[in-house]
Symmetry: C2
Subunit: 416 residues, 2 copies
């Protein structure tokens, strides 16, 4: 065992603010509101110029937080959002009717200051569950955040939404559509209570692309399915997960009215790439993570059963502790394949590779497999697991991390 | 945090062999076969006199071990079992066609020594997955085990089936049916890769009751549902889980031909009680466990949805680490309730109690709830979680333990 220093995520670099391209039509301001701790940037406001389109997907947790409920109501009521107000330090979840009032109080205050309707404000909260949101302190912090609004506020915002994250997470890229430069920039936070549907607690991606608002809803779902819905850290689905995609419509190219056009495909590819980079960054910075694991399941009848198997492997505490220990105790992977829930699985058809090492053939240990080959791969900081089910042509990929002492330490001490 | 010494299970007493009543018609012998380590009692033979009835439930893992597959075949082929052969140190799982041959080799050898048919022998294995079973060493150990056969071998057997268990697990009780004393005695082992369907890796309960063999199949399923199928440690379903119920038919009372009779109910109650005691002992000795948690979910529309919620709570790494830390971070329980999978759950109806402390009412923090009350309960070694769903009259109970540093240590070092 050679666990990494607990403050180091797996192959995730510190943020370079100069690599984050601003998105025209969108400004970001941060402030210290003292939500949970003093002298901590814990309030972020994203201000949108008129004309921006916003689409979002939210946690499927039935105990979804008050801001998730309010955000869904606002998105259902209006299409002309003007602001996102995000606080860390308190999730405003498990707070009952009082939590809804407090989330509305924040929206009302932001709307009054910005001269828009409260329904044009989307609230987001992350942090401890079942504590009363200090809405007064957030409201008191809003003027400072609004005063700080700037086009290049992405790095500040990436810092401002962190909870147990050890590093801020952001991604940015540019592409050309119709001769115009189009930017896609996003931020996200983890780092525990992470499992698909949704997988990140908070993710925000913006583009200045010109795109029909109706398409944005397809694009946000598609991007989530290719990114945040493919990661898991501990299998706990958060109460607050939200992924928001903003299109400010400012890039000046001809509007994209189908995702099947060249421009539509190029934009989709860029948004998915940014979302995947953010999602993988969350796993790399997973609580206590020392290994980044890519689980690929092939040969399923459909993608759904491939996902069942991939998540059974990715959620198994026994598999995850074996990765932590760099111990090629790979029978634990077979056990997870077996209990994933495919009723008519034929274990005699299963193949297992660890990176390039062929471990299992026809459901049993490959005669050429040597423990030291498994050991070699297990010691890497990035490991690929590939399972072949032998049932069909479908496949899927998910990303996860190991389960370490630091995960227990972090979550046993989170509130203290 | 005040974690227990890692060698101490939660309120589980060392075995007192004098409390284990022998079961007429059944003898047990153990031996050191050197399956994985030398000088370790790792082979157990249970010899049944003619006339015993045997029923079993096995893991639902599709990667079920070779002995599970062979055992199912033998039980399907014949009703007159004469022996159980159990080894620890090697699970003979993930071993493909070769593993089936080796399990059969053990049955053949036992049958030859005992003068019965190989199909009258049930093989069981537990230990490391995906290693070749050293069948030759097991076969070589059989004569010693057979020579050691004795009626009061239960305590030796409880020792002989242990893997990462820190204490042997056994339970025994007697009842009177038709004026005759009837005995129910059983043993089990854990202690990781434990989740329902089945939950124990190995459990064996025997009674000398006289009961129609057909009823034994109902009774073994019923007892499993009330015991081993209600516990979880890490959510990993083993490849080898087996629960066997033996009725030697020797107690001399009138045969039980329905479980709805007074005698049938009394026997059922005793078998369930022994199975529950064994199942709870597995949780108390769960890998790294420092707390014994009873999760009760009430007010569901049916038991299935109560189980969904109970297991979501019991499997959540975040909930389990909070128990380990004695931290009343109870919002994590609400989050688990929310993602358990009840699509139309109304969070506004949820009530949560921690023992006698009313924590949540109508989906939000109870105004009378004080952190120190939650703290007091969280510091206990035995904790009750009670969730009221407000949807119906169904309820269920499951038992689990916390997730500690020792769980990670044990599973990171299991093979070394």
């Amino acid at each position: 065992m050679n666990p990494k220093d607990c403050t180091m995520p797996v192959n995730l670099k510190p943020l370079d603010p100069t690599l984050l391209h601003p998105v025209a039509g969108l400004r970001i301001g941060t402030a210290m509101a003292g939500v949970r701790k003093a002298n901590r940037r814990d309030l972020v406001v994203v201000a949108l110029d008129e004309g921006a389109a916003v689409a979002a997907v939210f946690t499927q947790n039935r105990f979804c937080a008050a801001p998730v409920q309010i955000g869904q109501q606002h998105l259902a009521a209006r299409s002309d959002m003007r602001a996102l107000v995000i606080n860390t330090g308190n999730a405003n979840a498990g707070t009952g009717a009082d939590g809804l009032l407090r989330a509305r109080q924040v929206c009302d205050a932001a709307a009054a200051l910005m001269g828009c309707h409260a329904q044009q404000v989307l609230p987001f909260s992350t942090g401890v569950i079942m504590e009363t949101l200090p809405a007064d302190r957030i409201v008191a912090g809003l003027p400072a955040a609004l005063q700080a609004l700037k086009a290049d506020g992405w790095a500040d915002a990436a810092h401002g939404i962190m909870t147990t994250d050890t590093l801020p997470k952001a991604a940015s890229r540019q592409l050309t559509i119709g001769g115009r430069t189009v930017t896609v920039t996003g931020i996200a936070k983890g780092a525990g209570m992470i499992r698909p549907n949704m997988a990140t607690m908070l993710g925000f991606v913006a583009t200045d692309a010109v795109i029909a608002p109706a398409l944005l809803h397809n694009l946000v779902r598609d991007a989530a399915d290719q990114s945040f819905n493919r990661i898991t850290i501990d299998g706990d689905t958060s109460t607050n997960d939200s992924f928001v995609l903003i299109a400010t419509q400012r890039a000046g190219h001809a509007a994209i009215d189908t995702l099947d056009s060249a421009a539509g495909r190029a934009l989709r590819e860029a948004v998915v790439a940014v979302a995947q980079q953010l999602a993988q960054a969350i796993v790399r910075d997973g609580e206590g993570a020392t290994k980044f694991i890519t689980v690929q399941v092939q040969g399923g009848r459909d993608e759904a059963e491939c996902r069942l198997v991939a998540y059974a492997i990715a959620h198994s505490p026994l598999v995850k502790t074996a990765f932590f220990a760099s111990d090629p105790n790979l029978g634990r992977i077979l056990a997870a394949v077996g209990y994933a829930g495919i009723a008519d699985l034929d274990q005699g058809l299963i193949e297992l590779h660890l990176d390039d090492v062929h471990v299992v053939t026809r459901g049993g240990r490959h005669t050429a497999y040597r423990e030291e080959d498994g050991q070699r791969v297990m010691q890497q900081s990035e490991i690929g697991v590939r399972v072949q089910l032998g049932r069909g042509a479908a496949e899927t990929t998910v990303w996860t991390c190991d389960l370490s002492h630091d995960y227990v330490t972090i979550n046993a001490d989170y509130r203290s």
